[in-house]
């Protein structure tokens, strides 16, 4: 029905008693996410109550205890940056299948160590420094479709449907999703992979998952300057690894070079990571590039109309 998460995915929150963990767990409960518990070391045995949702959840000292008691399959991490790497590794060690790290500002070398620690384990990490992942819920074709919102995105801008969205950015994803929803184009799953240089899930992973999902018919991919993740996505599409229609956008065409990215890092990745290079690579792979960020939705609408798919996706 979607990728990575479904309406019945049981989710815990690491850092549930902190300000962000509390607020967004409450929001997730209101959206209908199946939240089953939380983890805060030292507060095990207590319970957490959502202010607006009224949901009551058990709090555990360790992820391991939470998994044993609740059968959680996914965990969302809001713990502060200094402890986030440890929290990710704890979730993986406890057998969590999907780890969504929202935390911003984790030291790069911590993420290097996390990536090594996760290698060979079955857990998938999304993020860090990302809005999260959502499989939109709500009424579609007269049926109430259960949703799963893991992260900080506003739930109401989404609508269940058949367009997959993957992005390195947060609010720019909301912009794109809102344009799709306004045009009547619902989403299967929206994944924010995060803007950090070392992260768990790449464009290629999400594109492959959308390709394999029978309920995703088209994809929006939003990249940024820096690194080579977009070029790798272009190579996957070119080699036939993703044959569904893709609309792309790259932010940062006009950003001055050298202000935010280390040049030496870009060189190692084999390219300078400029917007022009990324746009060219994606265009060569047959991706329909939106000419500006306001035209992401309309570019998708035009592409689907051309392919005779618009009626099905507008559903």
């Amino acid at each position: 029905m979607s990728i990575f998460v479904q309406g019945d995915t049981p989710v815990i929150c690491q850092g549930i008693t902190g300000a962000n963990g509390t607020f967004h767990t409450d929001q997730a409960c209101l959206y209908g996410t199946r939240m089953v518990g939380g983890v805060t070391p030292g507060k095990g045995g207590t319970s957490w109550t959502g202010e607006k949702s009224g949901a009551k959840l058990p709090v555990f000292d360790t992820v391991d205890a939470a998994v044993r008691a609740t059968g959680a399959k996914a965990s969302v991490i809001y713990v502060p940056a200094a402890f986030a790497a440890d929290a990710i590794c704890e979730a993986a060690a406890a057998g969590i299948e999907l780890i969504v790290a929202i935390t911003e500002g984790i030291p790069i070398l911590d993420m290097v160590r996390v990536k090594q620690s996760l290698a060979g384990k079955p857990s998938r990490l999304i993020g860090p420094n990302c809005p999260g992942v959502i499989t939109p819920g709500g009424k579609t074709h007269g049926v109430d479709f259960p949703g799963c919102k893991i992260g900080i995105m506003p739930g109401y801008i989404h609508k269940p449907g058949r367009v997959g969205v993957v992005s390195r950015s947060g609010t720019l994803t909301y912009e794109a999703v809102w344009q799709l929803t306004s045009l009547g184009l619902g989403q299967s799953t929206c994944v924010g992979i995060g803007g950090d240089p070392v992260n768990g899930t790449q464009f290629v992973d999400v594109l492959s998952a959308f390709q394999a999902d029978p309920n995703t018919d088209a994809i929006v991919m939003i990249g940024e300057i820096g690194g080579s993740a977009e070029e790798e996505a272009a190579a996957l599409i070119q080699s036939g690894g993703c044959t569904k229609p893709v609309v792309g956008f790259i932010a940062g065409t006009t950003a001055p070079p050298g202000k935010r990215m280390g040049h030496a890092g870009a060189i190692i990745a084999g390219g300078k990571g400029t917007a022009a290079e990324k746009v060219a690579a994606l265009q060569a792979a047959g991706v329909a590039m939106a000419p500006n960020p306001s035209a992401i939705g309309s570019t998708m609408e035009a592409l689907l109309t051309r392919k005779g798919m618009i009626a099905k996706l507008r559903g």
């Binding site: 790069i108 993420m111 992005s167 890092g265």
Partner: protein
């Protein structure tokens, strides 16, 4: 966070990287005494700014007497040094570094950066020392050798030797060069660097391997665990508006244009700048107020925008998620009133509590131009700011 060459050399020396002996000087007299203390007939006076390309711009002078050292320092201190990395306004030199001259035999390059694709730090080494590594990568990519390493392991001896032999370090100096590479790798990990570079790394006629220039950038996210490095920050090198922004946890970068932007989220901020240029305008800054923007943060951000005398118009673009549009609107209205805003202001709000936000703007009595989409907002502000500087 960037630091000066002399600071990088001080840190690298502590980690076991051999560097030429030197002294800092903040006056011409200090430079003359530094020359005396070093007791070397040939010394070098180097301007300390956070930018490369100093040699070609006159920021590096070979001196043969205390008087020459004094004159060289006097020619640099208090003056703006313009290199290809500083922009046309240059950077004012506040400190020079006087160091013993070295009898250079050959020049090489060694540097460490993160390889995003591997998710590992990689040491690069090249026989093309002195040249910028970007240039080597463009012209002679085959001349850059690479070794990835695990932070826990550091650079193994065999990897260091492979690099040293590979770039043509003389056989008798392989041991010294390998030790230097391993020390550089240790510094990169222990100090949480984002870049650590020695360029040029030189072999000397008297059989030494030295770091003749050094560049270190720290990972800002890891500075909390290196409190001892806070003293290395040089606020003279930062834009005052960027310093003010960092106090409020705002991500601000000064640019050359005349349209001030305030946006939530880095991606949307870049996309907003792109759209402004698409409509023929030029952004004055990148400003991300972040997801958890409060009324106070918005007001502070607004004042920073206004303090830029180049700004002839302001575009606010907010997609409220966690940030609520009504709260953003209150912050904008309060700040616009306080600073008695005299330039056009276009505001585009979308998302959480958007209706209430639009009401607040409408009822403020201020001349605020509303916009329904990013495209419309950019088009309107570019129309209102005619001509511009570019």
């Amino acid at each position: 966070m960037k630091i000066h060459e002399y600071q990088a050399k001080e840190l690298l020396k502590r980690m076991g990287v051999p560097v030429p002996e030197g002294r800092t000087a903040r006056t011409a007299d200090e430079a003359a005494s530094a020359y005396h203390e070093l007791g070397s007939p040939i010394s070098v006076v180097k301007a300390q700014i956070h930018a490369g390309g100093r040699g070609k711009a006159g920021g590096v002078k070979v001196v043969r007497s205390a008087e020459e050292a004094r004159a060289a320092a006097a020619g640099m201190l208090g003056k703006a040094l313009i290199t290809h990395q500083t922009g046309p306004q240059g950077r004012v030199v506040h400190t020079v570094w006087v160091e013993k001259g070295s009898s250079i035999d050959r020049e090489f390059y060694a540097g460490i950066a993160l390889d995003r694709r591997l998710g590992l730090p990689v040491m690069m080494a090249s026989s093309e020392g002195g040249m910028e590594i970007e240039e080597v990568a463009a012209k002679h990519p085959e001349k850059i050798l690479r070794e990835a390493f695990l932070p826990g392991d550091g650079l193994w001896g065999y990897q260091a030797r492979r690099l040293a032999f590979g770039i043509g370090i003389p056989a008798e100096l392989i041991g010294k060069a390998s030790k230097m590479f391993q020390a550089l790798a240790r510094a990169y990990v222990d100090l949480d660097c984002s870049i650590a570079e020695i360029n040029p790394l030189v072999t000397t006629k008297d059989g030494q391997v030295l770091a003749l220039d050094a560049k270190i950038n720290f990972d800002a996210n890891a500075l909390y665990r290196h409190t001892d490095l806070a003293g290395y920050r040089d606020k003279n090198e930062e834009d005052p508006k960027e310093i003010e922004a960092s106090k409020y946890d705002l991500s601000y970068i000064a640019l050359e244009g005349n349209i001030g932007c305030m946006v939530n989220g880095a991606g949307l901020a870049m996309a907003t700048m792109d759209t402004i240029q698409l409509h023929g305008g030029s952004p004055a800054n990148f400003l991300d107020v972040g997801g958890g923007a409060t009324k106070e943060k918005v007001a502070a951000a607004f004042k920073i925008l206004i303090s830029d005398t180049n700004v002839q118009g302001i575009l606010v673009n907010i997609f409220g998620g966690i940030a609520k549009c009504d709260m953003i609107a209150e912050g904008v209205v309060a700040a616009a009133r306080e600073v008695k805003l005299a330039v056009p202001l276009v505001v585009r709000l979308e998302g959480t509590n958007v209706e209430r936000g639009r009401e607040i703007l409408k009822n403020s009595g201020l001349a605020i131009t509303p916009a329904a989409s990013l495209d419309e907002a950019a088009s309107k502000i570019c129309g209102l700011v005619k001509g511009g500087r570019k």
